[in-house]
Symmetry: none
Subunit: 292 residues, 2 copies
DNA sequence: CTATTTGATAACTCATAGTTATTAATAATT
DNA sequence: AATTATTAATAACTATGAGTTATCAAATAG
C-alpha cells in the first residue's frame, strides 16, 4: 500500500528546491541528510514524477519540479493566511486584509481608504506595507498580499488592475527659485536645470512618463540624481541640487522648503492603480474594493 | 514541544465537518473513533481555535470552523490540481516550449510544425521569437530557449543539431529582367550583374554557400549590397539594384515584383536545422522533436 | 430508571520518520 | 595518477506518535 503525501513532504521539498543541496537543506530543517533524502524520494514515488536531477555533484529541479515549487509557495502562503484568518474570526474580528503600496500612495488614496474602511467595517484588521511595484505583484501572486497600490502599465496573467486615482504632474523647485505661479508657463523653462528622478527600476512607467513630458516639449532632461523615496527627492531639491517632476498630490504631507508648480499644457497623468489576484479568496477584499 | 499541522489533520477535519459525527467520520476514514477525536483535538490545539462545538449529543462547527472548512475544500482541490498538472508537465503533454527561429523558417517549417503540434498537444504553450543563428545558440546554452531553427554548419559542444528541411536555391530577378524559365540554363548567365547577399555575420554558412555556387561555375560575384532580412533583399532586387540567390521556398509569403528562377545543375542546398541542448530537461522538447 | 448513543480517556502496539554509520561516485588537489 | 574532499544514497537501528482496543461519562429516549 502506498503512503499518503503530507505537508512535511512539501516543506522538505521546498527546502531542497531553495538550497539545491540535500545536506544544507537538511541542516536548515534540523533533520539528518539521509532522512531528508528518503522523504524526497518517497514524495517523488507518491506523485510519480522525478522532481530533482541529482546529476554529478549538483542538484537541480526538473521542469515539473519548477512548476511544483511555484505552486507550493502559493499553497503554503495560502494555508498560513487561512490559519491566521481562522484565529481572527475566532476572536470576533472580520478578518485581515494585507495591503501593499507605493510610498507615493500614502499621501492620497490610502489614508482616505483607511478612514472610510474603518468607519464601515470596524472589525477588519489592516496590514500595510510599503513595497515597490515589482515586489507587490510578486507578493500578490504568492498570496502574501491581497491588494496592491501600484503605478504600472500592465500586469501578469491572473492579476487584475484598475485605476483608482489620476493626478497631474507638478514641478518641484527650491523655495527661492526664480520661477513662480505667474511666470511658469512651460516645463521648457527649466530645460537647463539638473533633474532628480525616481529610479527606473523602482517604477519604469513613472520614469518613462517623466522623460516623455520633457521630450514632448523638445528637450532631454539632464538627470543628475535618481532616488526611490519622495522624501529624498524633496531634500535634494531643497538643497538646490536640481528640480523634480512629481505627482501633484505628493506635495501634501511634506514640509520641505520646496515650491510646487503644476505643469501646464501636458497630457501625461500619474495614474495610481489597485492590483489583486483574480482568484483571491479573502472575503474582506471584495468589501474593500467596493469602497474604492 | 508543539506538533506540526499536517494534511492528515485537514482530511480528518473535513470528514468530521461533513458528517458532524465522530464515529461516522471515523468509519469513513477507516480509523477508530478515539484516534480521530485525538487528531481533531490536536489540530485545535495547534491552530489555537475551537473548531467544533460538542454540545449535548450533537456536533456542530464554530464560525471559525465554517470558514476553515470552506478554505480547506479549496486548498485540497488546489493541491489535487497541482499534482495532476505536475504529472502532465512531467509527461510533456502540458507546459511550455520556447522556440527561436530565423525569419526564413517562417515560410516553411514553423507554420506546419505549429499546426501539427497544436492538433497533437493542444495544451502546450508556444513562445516564439525571431533571432539570428548566433543568438539562438547563445540562448540555448543559457537555457533561455529550448529549440532553435538555424542554418549553421556546426554547433558548440553540448548542442545537438539535425537537418529538418532541405531546399534548392533560386535566383531572384527584377520582374522585367531578360532571363526567364526557358532561357535560364546556368547561373553564369548573370555573372556580370551585381549581387545582393545575406550578411555573413547573420549566417556565414549561407554566405559561403552562395559564394561557392558562383565559384563552382567559374566566377566571383560582384557583391554590392548585404542585408539581414529577406524583405530588404527583395526590395533591392525589385528596385533593380541587383540579383540575389535565396532558398526557393522564400518566395512564398512575399509579393514583391520579383521573378524566381530555380538554379539548375548545382549541388548546393539550403539546409534548415533544429538545434537544442543535449541535456535539456523540458519534456515538451522530446514531444515536439518527434513531430519533426 | 434502564437502555442507548456518543465523544473523551487510558493504556497499549506498531508503523514509520528520523537516526547513525557507511558506501559509491564524482570532482578538486597534489 | 593518486589522494582528498564533497555529496547523495543505502543499510540497519531507534523512538516517536498515530492508531488500536477497552472503558467511561454524559446525555437523551423510551
Amino acid at each position: 500500500m502506498s503512503y499518503q503525501i503530507e505537508l512535511r513532504h512539501f516543506t522538505y521539498f521546498l527546502a531542497v528546491a531553495e538550497e539545491l543541496h540535500f545536506r544544507k537543506a537538511a541542516d536548515r530543517l534540523f533533520i539528518s541528510q539521509p532522512g531528508l533524502s528518503r522523504q524526497i524520494k518517497q514524495m517523488e514515488e507518491i506523485i510519480g514524477v522525478t522532481l530533482f536531477i541529482r546529476n554529478k555533484r549538483k542538484v537541480s529541479l526538473t521542469v515539473a519540479g519548477q512548476y511544483l515549487k511555484k505552486e507550493l509557495d502559493y499553497i503554503f502562503n495560502h494555508i498560513d493566511f487561512t490559519m491566521k484568518q481562522t484565529r481572527l474570526i475566532d476572536k470576533g474580528s472580520d478578518g485581515e486584509i494585507r495591503i501593499g503600496f507605493l510610498g507615493s500612495a500614502m499621501q492620497t488614496v490610502i489614508p482616505e481608504l483607511l478612514i472610510q474602511a474603518n468607519a464601515t467595517y470596524p472589525d477588519i484588521q489592516f496590514s500595510l506595507e510599503e513595497m515597490s511595484n515589482h515586489l507587490q505583484v510578486d507578493a500578490i501572486e504568492k498570496d502574501q498580499l491581497d491588494l496592491g497600490f501600484v503605478r504600472l502599465a500592465r500586469v501578469p496573467k491572473g492579476i487584475e488592475m484598475k485605476t483608482v486615482h489620476t493626478d497631474t504632474f507638478s514641478l518641484a523647485l527650491p523655495i527661492n527659485h526664480k520661477l513662480n505661479e505667474k511666470t511658469f508657463t512651460s516645463i521648457k523653462q527649466v530645460s537647463d536645470e539638473h533633474f532628480i528622478l525616481f529610479s527606473s527600476d523602482y517604477s519604469s512607467l513613472y520614469y518613462d512618463k517623466i522623460m516623455s513630458i520633457c521630450e514632448d516639449k523638445g528637450f532631454t532632461p539632464k538627470v543628475s540624481h535618481k532616488s526611490v523615496h519622495a522624501q529624498t527627492i524633496f531634500k535634494l531639491v531643497e538643497s538646490e541640487l536640481g528640480v523634480a517632476i512629481v505627482p501633484t498630490s505628493l506635495q501634501r504631507g511634506f514640509n520641505f522648503k520646496v515650491k510646487f508648480l503644476e505643469i501646464p499644457k501636458i497630457s501625461q497623468r500619474a495614474e495610481l492603480s489597485i492590483v489583486w489576484k483574480k482568484d483571491n479568496r479573502n472575503p474582506v477584499l471584495k468589501r474593500i474594493k467596493n469602497l474604492l
